[in-house]
Amino acid sequence: MDSRKLTTRVWSSLSSGLLCSAPLFVLLGLGFFGPLALVILYSVQPRGSFSPFGTPTLENYRDIIEQAFYLSFGWSLLLAIISTTILLIICYPLALALKRYSGAMADILTLLVVAPLFVAENIRLQGWVLFFDKGGFLDGGLNHLFGFGPGSLVNNVPSIVFGMVYVYLPFMLFPILLGLSNVPADVREAALDLGANKWRIFRDIEIPLAMPGILIGSLLCFVISLGAFSEAKFLGKGVIVTIAQDIESAFTFGQNWPRGSALAVLLIILAGTAVFFAMRKIDLNKVLGTR
């Protein structure tokens, strides 16, 4: 009797939890795990195959190693590291400054940061191309006014980094803001009162307490810039090739789905490793204030 009651109770509490998370499971199943399984399956098919059910082979991975794809991996990794670092350096002081404002001013500043997100990324990047290109807004304007201009500022690696920093800024800024909200003003004051100077407060109090937010922001930016595509395509105009571009051309121009899938699997492993190491250091419950 008692054990039956207990079972019912366990079931009812379990089922309410399951029920609430069911939409998420369906979404993850259809939109994430399904395609992921398909990609993994395709990555072990023979070259140029369009069926996921051929004889498994590792030839695509061998091709990738033999055909210098490490260059694109290297560029993607380098760009991700550089842009994440620059974003950290820009966003930390920006978040500190934003935290000081409240009310209408804070809303306006937040809106200014978020507003670009309302326009599609490609369009914004094309806008920058028009701005920076030879005879573009900047060069043309200066030429018209003073008779000389900087010429083309696009088609190079720094312009790609600029584009990435510009596009991913909100993804670094808001997690850091969240992290900084875990640094109570009085804790900072207490440290000052106990004799800590500004540098010590920054190092001993602010950074450790804001660390979860900093890590989440860095992780987000690192992972999405690892898969960056449009920045290199539009601002770089082929000066370098990122891994995301390789994957795209394998699927479209190359019509080699297995190779594209194998590249995608390697990219997922790279990003997954970063996520794994960062998540071990983050207590999500603490960041979101649920505990």
Binding site: P184, D186, V187, E189, A190, A191, L192, D193, L194, G195, A196, N197, R200, D204, I205, P208, L209
Partner: protein, 355 residues
């Protein structure tokens, strides 16, 4: 000649916009005393304390430490330390790391740090086994002790307290009040404590300053302030009190309209006195037994409520439109609700505040 005060305030003002949070405060703390600033919420206590600790700067006036002006000296350069209302412990550190922090800032060696931090934990009655515990796993009372130990580790010349006990349950608060007082006696340091609780102020302090609307209403020993309040505000703030509106009456007596009777004043009336409030503490009121001969300040009314306060009992007596509180020791044969009883007070136990 009295010793130089350890800290002195001269005409200190603090304005937030047009609002004077602290208004013309002149005050001196003696070396080694336990001084409590007490006052209702919004009376400027915390603002004042923040200026003393160096977290805020006064708008006008000077703050002196042993005669030296320190207005512009930031908190990390002052030999003072504060226990925050929120305690402001470092949540990512252990108990030991919290307590060691001020020593670390000063560059003390790790072995010396550990020695001194342990000593401070002992002083604040926290077992040494707590040393390596994350501070977030401590209970409210334990955190209180960690905060105290951390401030002691700083070894300040003056220790400030910003209502640290306000979030703690009654029994633990009583224990901690006494412990704080004991630590002050043991370390012989100057403690400046703020609270809105009169009881806390009375238990711990050598001197009390009562604050009201950013100013100091009265400074004195707990006894002085309790028995000789300078005005009605202080008198009412320092505890329950019976108050009656009175006017000057012929023959140096007072007239109370609501009682319809003359009352003998505490002392000879001032020339200028025309009307005011007469106040008597409930414990200074007595019950008058039938047949007892008393001529002055005796009234009768209906006893309509009794509150038992442990060893004492409080009677609420209705007399015309007034209600009086009379507090006595509990004993056998006390009157019951509904009884008609007589009560009164000795004129010298009353306090008269002109208006």
């Amino acid at each position: 000649m009295p010793a130089e005060p350890i800290m002195e305030l001269r005409g200190v003002d603090k304005y937030f916009g047009n609002l004077a949070a602290v208004n013309q405060i002149t005050l001196a703390f003696e070396e080694g005393e336990f001084f409590t600033l007490v006052g209702p919420s919004g009376s400027g206590k915390t603002t004042l304390l923040r200026m003393l600790a160096g977290m805020d700067k006064p708008t006008r006036g000077d703050i002196l430490l042993r005669g030296e002006r320190i207005n512009d000296r930031p908190a990390n350069w002052r030999p003072t330390c504060m226990v925050f209302q929120s305690l402001a412990l470092f949540p990512h550190m252990t108990v030991g790391q919290n307590v060691e922090y001020p020593l670390k800032c000063r560059g003390t060696s790790p072995s010396e740090r550990k020695k001194r931090a342990s000593r401070c934990l002992e002083l604040s009655h926290l077992p040494i086994s707590y040393y390596d515990r994350p501070v977030t796993t401590c209970s409210g009372g334990e955190r209180q002790r960690v905060a105290l130990a951390r401030a002691l580790a700083f070894d300040p010349e003056i220790l400030f307290f910003d209502e640290p006990l306000s979030a703690i349950d009654y029994r633990l608060r009583k224990t901690l009040e006494k412990e704080i007082k004991d630590i002050q006696r043991e370390t012989k340091k100057t403690f400046v404590y703020i609270t809105h609780s009169l009881e806390e102020a009375m238990v711990m302090s050598d001197r009390i300053g009562v604050m009201r609307d950013g100013g100091l209403a009265q400074i004195g020993s707990p006894h002085e302030i309790y028995s000789n309040p300078v005005n009605r505000f202080v008198s009412e703030f320092m505890g329950e009190v019976n108050s009656i509106a009175v006017k000057r009456h012929e023959g140096g007596e007072l007239w109370c309209e609501s009682l319809g009777a003359t009352i003998t004043p505490p002392s000879v009336l001032d020339e200028s006195f025309s009307q005011g409030t007469l106040m008597i503490r409930p414990e200074n009121m007595h019950l008058v037994n039938p047949g007892e001969a008393r001529s002055t300040n005796v009234f009768s009314g209906e006893l309509f409520n009794e509150y038992v306060l442990g060893s004492r009992i409080q009677f609420q007596i209705r007399c015309n439109s007034d209600t009086f509180l009379v507090e006595r020791l509990r004993e056998a044969g006390m009157p019951k609700s509904g009884d008609q009883i007589s009560f009164g007070w000795s004129p010298e136990d009353s306090m008269l505040f002109p208006e």
